[in-house]
Symmetry: C2
Subunit: 358 residues, 2 copies
């Protein structure tokens, strides 16, 4: 795969990017006419964020569309996967993705959720539907699951094939900073205390603002047996944090490539939470401490990771092992050969969605 940039006056140029693109950065070479190029080994299939480093400045490729990632507009490229079309737009009935603006009392701001309604929603006017809250990762926003993830096409295809229940999918922006406050940013150094503060704010938005708005605005089945929360990476952490504290509200929870928090010690750094034994008795305020009760209450605990995520995959599979050993029932899915990237999460959704609400 070759990248090209016309920049006769530039002194240096590189291609950089996210997991899955390869061993970034790749140095570009200047041709005689001022066109810089680099050919990189074919990346794994799927969607990859990337950007150019032009004389030391990270900029988008002027020839690319942009996608919200890394906290800003970022170039992206789609590598087709041979023989795989579960996320392609096909000749099947298509749902709509709707912009839903609502006022959040919790944060004092207008927020935008994106709401997928299945194709039959506009014709089966007396039918009500279950709801999946589906969250993006750190640095992304509410557009990630439909633009990078192609969630609407994955679910359109599953529903058309009779493999998933028709459902409403709600994608909100996973930040709930107080107006004027410092935006939350999750890094290895973030303390357990700060994570809890940020997630508790988002929990308020979800529980007090978003869910009532969705139940008032759409034909939902507004009970726990018909409500799920799942997310990728930070969004999976939020899903575990929020759904496990609100099992009166959610019966299904999914965490995709999401760090399983070992402890919630206020002073522990996030990075240190990923290593060591996963104590099923204390994790998540004891949500897993009574496996029989948990299994009775939670219809699905879904965990997943890409096999190329290395440290994170080991951390998650370690937690999976401990949970299973303790008697907690769960589904664990591995995406072969993919890392912390959207192809993993597309495959995750393809596995997860058919298990919901049935």
């Amino acid at each position: 795969m070759t990248f090209t940039l016309f920049a006769p006056q530039a002194v240096s140029a590189q291609v950089a990017g996210g997991d899955g693109l390869g061993h970034v950065p790749f140095a570009m070479t200047r041709g005689t006419e001022g066109t810089w190029t680099v050919t990189i080994p074919p990346p794994v299939p799927g969607f990859h964020y990337y950007w150019l480093v032009l004389d030391g400045v990270d900029v988008n490729d002027p020839g690319s569309r942009t996608y919200f990632g890394y906290g800003k507009e970022t170039s992206g490229i789609e590598i087709p996967e041979a023989g795989v079309d579960f996320y392609a737009i096909k000749r099947v009935p298509h749902g709509e993705v709707r912009e839903k603006w609502y006022f959040s009392k919790s944060t004092g701001e207008w927020r935008r959720a994106l709401v997928y309604t299945p194709a039959e929603y506009v014709t089966h006017l007396s039918r009500r539907y279950p709801v999946l809250l589906l969250q993006h990762g750190m640095g992304e926003d509410e557009t990630g699951w439909t633009r990078q993830g192609r969630a609407q096409f994955i679910v359109d295809n599953l529903i058309a094939a009779g493999k998933a229940e028709p459902m409403i999918i709600v994608m909100d922006r996973g930040y709930a900073d107080k107006p004027g406050g410092t935006p939350f940013k999750l890094t290895a150094e973030t303390s357990g205390r700060d994570i809890r503060i940020a997630f508790t704010r988002f929990e308020e938005v979800i529980v007090h603002d978003l869910i009532p708005t969705i139940d008032a605005s759409y034909r939902t089945i507004p009970d726990r047996e018909h409500r799920a929360m799942a997310g990728l990476s930070m969004g999976g952490m939020q899903s575990l944090f929020i759904a496990l504290r609100h099992l009166d509200t959610f019966a299904y929870v999914g965490a995709l490539s999401a760090p399983m928090m070992r402890s919630v010690a206020p002073d522990a750094r996030f990075g240190s939470n990923l290593v060591g034994a996963f104590d099923t008795k204390t994790a998540y305020d004891g949500a897993f401490s009574d496996p029989a009760k948990f299994n009775d209450r939670v219809k699905l605990l879904w965990l997943g990771a890409g096999t190329a995520e290395q440290t994170l995959q080991q951390s998650i599979s370690g937690a999976v092992e401990a949970l299973r050993k303790s008697g907690v029932r769960l589904v664990y899915f591995e995406s072969p050969g993919t890392a912390h990237e959207w192809q993993t999460w597309r495959r995750d959704l393809q596995d997860l969605a058919p298990r919901l609400f049935r």
Copy 2:
């Protein structure tokens, strides 16, 4: 207004942008720490496209959101207008903007339209609504009217105040190139023939694919008296071209900052079509040649321009004068002090929408 870019290794940096930003480009000055800055005179209020020129390469500002303009992702900045809130999100009932995917037989491709449904659409389930097709300009796409134009908030506010009829607004991508063909690009050199070919292709999509899809998918009132087409710049040219040829389909037409074509001579260059007398007998295949018939048939012909658009405004107002003199009834609106830019088109929509379907 000050722009800042951290680029210690850069040799030169400038701020450039669209109409309304000022006399671009503005040279940035390097500070001792490698931070480049420039302070520019306050631009007129509204939305402005802009970009940075980093060592000769047009790149987006890494600190900006991007908006589709100039045929690519482009940085943008919003300058508030004191005391003006008609395009603000307010505590009124909000409609939804829905992504509607449909297969176009005309072009053999899946296309995405954005469809605004008014707030009451989801509660007044037996009511049917009129439809406005609303088109973006050259280099933009179907996202322009809601992201740059804030059309959904303008119309939410108008409907809430009882100033506009609740309506469905359909925003499609104004290109209909054959798959694999050269994308249409409108410049001063484009011939009348090429414009006609490109617009005829888009006309096929509108008439044969889009309108039937919308009428089958939404609770529309599917007759000419409840269908309008309007657009800005190239989108206004398309609206005149298509709607005036299909007065069995449209009764309302609006052209916002849109060149009024003097002739459709196949070999005439687009640039030459803007100057000289506007012959009301021959323009648009004679659509205006019988003013009494036109006035009887067309419920609204709406034309507008910004007073700072200079050549274009003179061209449009010249056509307006000729049309009025010939007896054609029309509304002409001028946006004071604004050029070929979104603040003009927001004001246009604020004037136009209340005149539709009443």
